[in-house]
Amino acid sequence: MYRFISELKNIYGKAPEQKPESKPTPLTVSLDENTERLKKRFNGSADLTVHKMELRGIRFGIITIEGMVNKEILALGVIKPVSEETYEGTPKDAFEKIKSKILYTAEQVEVLTLEDVDKFIMSGFAVIAIDGCAKMLALGIQGFSFRSVSEPDSDVVQRGSKEGFVEPLRINMSLIRRRMKTPRLKFETMTVGSDSRTDICLCYLTDTVSPEILGKLKKRLDSINLKTVMASGYIAPYLEQKGDFSFFSGVGISERPDTVCGKISEGRIAILVDGTPSALIVPFLFVEYFQTLDDYSNRAYFATLTRWLKYIAFFIAIMLPGVYVAVGSFHPELFPSQLLGKIAGSIAATPMPLGVETIVIHFVYEIMREAGLRMPQPLGHAVSIVGALVIGETAVNAGLIGAPTLMVVALTAICSYVIPSLYAPTAILRFLFIIAGAFLGIWGVILLFCMVLVNICGKKSFDVPYTAPVSPFSMTAMRDVFVRAGWKQLSKSTSTVQTMPGTDLQGCESDE
């Protein structure tokens, strides 16, 4: 337990006080000294490879990190041409010859400091060092293995591209660039995490993005004091407005480059994190949870229908069990007369109070869901059978739980998957609504609903009201909120996120 806590502290704890940027260590002319210092910096790490050779009196060294470079290119494209050449003159002349006449890799960078050598070799570069020359040459021959571009698991669309983001940052950048062939699209890279030094990249359209939002985003990214950033989820909390607690996030996530491009074109900023197959999007509004790429591929009337289905499913997912418990426990007279007998009979036949019963079934369902996510694929069927037959049917037959309650839970569970990105807040709110309904009846449910409403209405994402354009209301924006107007209508005017009603951009100085 103690280890787990210290592990957590290690991950989320504040990074040690940043020392003022120490002076970079310049390279020396001695190959041995440079490589020794490098090995010392890496504490003799096993994956640091230094390959030394001597050709016609000149000593060379090729420094790489195991598994980060393409060995074939290294052998045939670097070592072979370098070793086959003849060298005359000083080591500096040899360095210039290798740089300008022998090697033709796309990325060649002259390195002058030991810190830069660190940075390049850890990014998959091979670094050539020559004894007698106080600089090195970094060659971009990255060759680490990564997953190929494939369809995302969660952001599935019926009609549209099947490409999703992958882990390497550069490939994700290219996926966006391929869809936005404009010089106005800018990629800006930064590094976060004092130990992991994870590369992140901001993507935006230079003439569409709000400078205030961009400035504020950079300020918030600068404030990240984590030691390690292993996924985009680590930095998302830092992008939320300070003191704006909510179950709903002001930072959007997408695994699809086409979705991200659509958002960028509306003035939003995408943040790609190296090692994460998804992009963060800011500012993000509540209504965006209900918009999917399929809405824009399908016919307008059908897209409008599906959008309304999503709204209704969301309300069912969070409120139905709460309302059911409230009405069943305190106001049974509100059930239609035909239904009243059956529900009342079911409630009377089960041993637990309705509220407890509903919570227990939901709890069991959440356990099964969590187990289904983590367990090996073939065992999934077994869990389904155990859940459906053993727990579900047997418990109803044994009279432990009521069939109407089980139906309510099942309907709620299905509805909560209509918008997968809303699952986390939905699951929590559902429990809260059940508790409110069990203790205070319909009043509790309504009051909790009002509190949630005020909570999301008070939230802002980079100074843009989270509930815009519903409240504050914008009639023109409604063509893509409650209905999905046809493309001819949508293309009449393009609006950006910073023009949403109620937006009060303060500038990055007054962030918090």
Binding site: V327, S329, F330, H331, E333, L334, P336, F439, L440, G441, I442, W443, G444, I446, L447, L448, F449, C450, M451, L453, V454, N455, C457, G458, P465, T467, V470, S471, P472, F473, G502, D504
Partner: protein, 370 residues
């Protein structure tokens, strides 16, 4: 509590509309000395222009300086003694919350006969409103915009449900109603105009046309009141006299096709509306306390104010409609003082002071020229 944010006039009046209309749906003949609800149709017609008149001092005060609320005007005019006026407003806003919770308790205990303990519900309402006040006026204003849609939908459903059951025989000539009853109804309606003092405190943070908004707001408020009176009288008839909460009773009787038992909607509507009302007035209370004791104190004031409202609700649960809590005369004077007398006095003194200042300046100028 969040910092003062800018809201639009539309948002403010939506918030005030909900705050006012929610009190309308809690109409009880017991509150107006057992009068007939039908008589109050004339009362509504009289109260409408009177409400517009009550708005005038606040609007004139705003015209003097739109960035100063009634609290800042009192600071400017009375200096240190302004504390008395600010304290009066703070207590007034807290009492409005207390009135709301007391009425709600009455409704739960007498109207609904539910199994949930009254104290628990009123405590929950106060706690939720405390949270609303903490989130600030911007959050409340935006939330009220969404709640208004629900309110409209509920009213529309009630309209559809009640219209077929209205009987023209239940209406008698409005001219045959007694003057005393009309007077009583007018007093009741004017005494519930606590939104005008709220406007006097809030207008500096509002952008938009407040004068036009005020007129539209009062028009819609009285149109809704009259609509309720016509609908409920038409559908309940003589039964109205024996009903403690006629609008709720009327909602209960709806039975047309799938439109049945709209009382659940009514409960939801009232709870949501009361939440808006209490959050708003708790926020105003905190604003007044913050003016006296500083910004930090306003956060504590919300918590203490909510606690006071819960206690107030618990104490007054068993008090009858004749008690001082529901006394329309007491409320009328309190409201007129907060909405008319204080702003009018401030306006006059401020005007006089600025005239004297102007004379002084002219005198100085003349002296300099000589």
């Amino acid at each position: 509590m969040n910092n003062r944010g800018m809201i639009t006039a539309g948002q403010l009046f939506v918030l005030l509309f909900i705050s006012r209309v929610i009190v309308t749906v809690t109409y009880s003949p017991q509150l107006s000395s057992g009068d007939d609800m039908w008589s109050h149709l004339i009362s509504a017609l009289i109260s409408f222009p009177l409400t517009l008149l009550m708005l005038v001092p606040v609007l004139l005060l705003r015209r003097q300086n739109a960035s100063m609320s009634v609290l800042e005007f009192s600071e400017d005019v009375f200096k240190r003694f302004s504390v008395i006026i600010i304290l009066f407003y703070a207590i007034y806003f807290l009492l409005v919350c207390g009135y709301g919770i007391a009425l709600y308790n009455k409704f739960i205990s007498l109207g609904v006969n539910g199994e949930t303990p009254v104290f628990a519900i009123s405590a929950a309402v106060a706690v939720a409103s405390c949270y609303g006040a903490f989130k600030g006026i911007e959050a409340m204003a935006r939330a009220s915009g969404i709640i208004l849609v629900g309110l409209f939908a509920t009213v529309l459903l009630m309209l559809c449900g009640l219209l077929p059951s209205t009987d023209t025989e239940n209406y008698r000539s409005v001219l045959s109603v007694s003057g005393e009853s009309v007077y009583s109804g007018t007093v009741l309606m004017l005494s519930r105009m606590s939104c005008i003092p709220a406007l006097a405190v809030l207008y500096p943070i509002v952008k938009g046309n407040i004068s036009r908004g005020s007129v539209l707001w009062s028009s819609f408020v009285f149109m809704t009141i009259m609509l309720f009176i016509i609908l409920v009288t038409g559908s309940l008839g003589d039964y109205l006299k024996y009903s403690i909460f006629p609008v709720y009773q009327a909602a209960k009787t709806v039975n047309i096709g799938f439109l049945q038992r709209l009382d659940a909607l009514f409960i939801g509507l009232w709870t949501a509306g009361l939440f808006c009302r209490l959050s708003l007035f708790m926020y105003l209370f905190a604003l007044c306390v913050g003016k006296i004791f500083g910004k930090k104190a306003s956060r504590i004031a919300i918590v203490l104010g909510s606690a006071a409202v819960i206690i107030f609700g618990a104490v007054t649960t068993d008090m009858g409609f004749r008690s001082f809590i529901f006394s329309k005369d007491v409320w009328l004077w309190l409201t007129i003082t907060a909405a008319v007398i204080i702003p009018l006095v401030l306006l006059i003194i401020y005007k006089i002071k600025s005239v004297i200042k102007g004379d002084d300046r002219e005198g100085v100028k003349a002296h300099e020229m000589q």
